[in-house]
């Protein structure tokens, strides 16, 4: 499988990456080089093989159902959460208008 300019433009849009025409042109051969190389995986017989989901057997835990069980990741941290926001306003994340 290989990609053309239109496909790369579509992927970039899905990935929310703005790319110029010139960048698109440069990316097409690069991505095709990488995709052609990973094609070799198609040679491997994977009949009856399950896809890997966890490298080391482990079970997912549930934490105690307690409010603020860990204060660091619990609530009441608004100012710390907003401290690195590029445009925090009135205690919220600011974004450009999305509804007319």
């Amino acid at each position: 499988m290989s990609v053309d300019t239109a496909t790369v433009a579509k992927i970039a849009s899905l990935a929310r990456l703005k790319v110029s025409e010139a960048e698109l042109e440069a990316m097409v051969p690069e991505l095709n080089g990488i995709l052609a190389w990973v094609e070799q995986l198609g040679e491997v017989d994977v009949t009856g093989v399950e896809p890997m989901t966890a490298v080391i057997p482990n079970t997912l835990r549930l934490r105690e159902d307690v409010i603020n069980a860990d204060p660091l990741t619990g609530g009441d941290r608004r100012d710390a959460v907003l401290a690195n926001a590029p445009a925090a306003q009135h205690g919220f994340f600011g974004v450009p208008k999305v509804i007319e």
Partner: protein
């Protein structure tokens, strides 16, 4: 008297405890080396001499008060700038996070400070840990302190933990944290004549570590000898309820149990790691390593890992797929860069922010990842890669029915010159050919320096162990280290 900055973790800790020198003297000595080397090596993104002094003063005060000292007490270290550090910028070497100052501390760094270590600064790396040469940092390349004999060409310190490896080799820090997704601790260690270990996936908490590929990312320690790596890893590892993949297991006393005696152990040599075009010197150092293992009492056995040749291709599907998902969080809303062109809506802001914030290699991996996860291609690429990953993991499991550890070269060559591979992503990816398989299987693995090539550059040997058998890996590392007698250090030119 010995130069303090030539000492390692154990020697510094013990010297401070014995009163041979104060922790503040140690911090001052390393702070001075960091400052003097910054313009030439660019190993640090930001130096934090005041943090190193502050931690050192606390250790000196605790000692004066007769209190018990931690296992890293008085040891100043470098912190890869992928670990969130409270109040100190954490950039992942990306413009995206240039102004990000966390309000929390990563679990691994917190454990190190609690063990008495201090922070010399945040170390440079490949942007979002994506790279093998440290040429993708927004803050400039790290320059290796090593040079080829008779040449002043600038060489790579390896990547992505290239700031860590350069700093340790240049005596700017006795030890540093690294993270390893496909070889990012082991390959830089091999290129700089230093030691680095990546533990079993789940040993070290990923909480507060900027994510690249979550099923592979694992923190580890880097230093100048095996014992120092062991001491530091013991301080870093341990169960953390805040990381859902953290293993709920006690940390073994690796350092106390260190032994370079390999009697009764079997060391496996995977025949598929003899790749075409490998330099004769790399092959020779591998043969030397085999002889050292035998000398240490081990029985050497050839084993087969038949799916090795597919590991890199599987990795370069799985890692970008996870990266494209993980890096979706950089949207210009909650933290990091925002680029809001005039009149732009929300979607335009996302796209402009991500275009401005991410470097080329990061964009390349996000695009690949988005493509292999997209409707219609998911099964052909991503599911297929995950199945191949299962086969690779099974290869290792079968080999470990026969042997205790595996011995291989760490990288297919010595360090290359900066710029040499930068225009060809594929040839750059091939640097990880020997390190990626163990990452895909979540296994503990380390690199120890074994010798120099004809140009005077370090070559490393890799030891891969069974899941949770860091002890076996460290012990084999110790056996190699004792026989290699690697004492070379880069001649100071910076």
């Amino acid at each position: 008297m010995t130069n303090i900055t030539d000492l390692g973790v154990a020697a510094i800790r013990d010297g401070v405890a014995a009163g041979q020198f104060s922790a503040v003297e140690v911090a001052e000595a390393f702070n001075a080396n960091v400052a003097a080397a910054q313009s030439a090596l660019n190993a640090f993104i930001v130096a934090t001499p005041e943090k190193a002094i502050e931690a050192a003063k606390a250790v000196d005060a605790a000692r004066s008060a007769g209190q018990a000292l931690g296992p890293m007490a008085g040891v100043p270290i470098g912190m890869k700038d992928l670990f969130a550090t409270e109040g100190v910028q954490t950039t992942a070497a990306s413009r995206m996070l240039e102004c990000f100052v966390p309000h929390y501390e990563s679990t691994v760094s917190r454990k190190l400070w609690e063990a008495g270590a201090g922070m010399l600064g945040k170390l440079n790396l490949d942007q979002f840990a994506m790279g093998s040469s440290n040429e993708s940092s927004y803050f400039g390349n790290v320059i290796s302190p090593w040079q080829r004999r008779g040449s002043n060409a600038q060489l790579t310190p390896g990547g992505s933990s290239g700031g860590s490896s350069a700093a340790i080799a240049a005596r700017l820090a006795p030890a540093a944290t690294g993270t390893d997704t496909g070889g990012s601790i082991r390959q830089p260690a091999a290129y700089t004549g230093t030691v680095g270990i990546k533990p079993t996936y789940g040993r070290c908490s990923r909480w507060g570590v900027v994510a690249y590929a979550s099923s592979l990312d694992q923190a580890g320690s880097m230093a100048r000898d095996v014992t120092d790596c062991s001491i530091m890893l013991e301080a870093m590892a341990g169960f953390d309820p805040k990381d859902s993949t953290s293993l709920d297991l006690a940390v073994p006393a690796w350092t106390a149990s260190l032994s370079g005696d390999l009697k009764g152990k079997k060391v496996g040599i995977p025949r598929e790691y003899r790749v075409d075009g490998m330099p004769a010197e790399v092959d020779a150092i591998w043969e030397q390593g085999i002889a050292w293992a035998k000398d240490a009492g081990a029985e050497v056995v050839e084993v087969s890992l038949p799916h090795t040749k597919y590991a890199l291709a599987a990795y370069y599907i799985i890692a970008p797929a996870e990266a494209s998902s993980n890096l979706a969080r950089y949207d210009g809303v909650r933290y990091g860069l925002r680029d809001l062109p005039d009149g732009a809506g929300l979607q335009d802001m996302y796209a402009a922010t991500r275009a401005a914030g991410f470097g080329d290699e990061v964009k390349r991996r996000i695009l690949i990842g988005t493509y292999v996860l997209s409707a219609g291609f998911y099964d052909a690429y991503y599911t297929q890669a995950q199945k191949v990953r299962t086969l690779i993991s099974q290869d290792f499991a079968k080999a470990f029915e026969q042997v205790d550890v595996l011995l291989t070269p760490t990288a297919p060559s010595a360090a290359f010159a900066l710029g040499e591979n930068v225009d060809d992503p594929l040839s750059m990816y091939l640097n990880d050919v020997f390190t990626v398989p163990a990452s895909l299987a979540g296994l503990p693995a380390m690199s120890v320096p074994a010798g120099l090539d004809a140009q005077g550059l370090p070559l490393g040997l890799q030891i891969i162990g069974r899941p949770l058998d860091e002890q076996g890996v460290l012990n084999a590392g110790l056996a190699i280290e004792a026989r290699a007698g690697f004492t070379a250090k880069p001649e100071k030119w910076w």
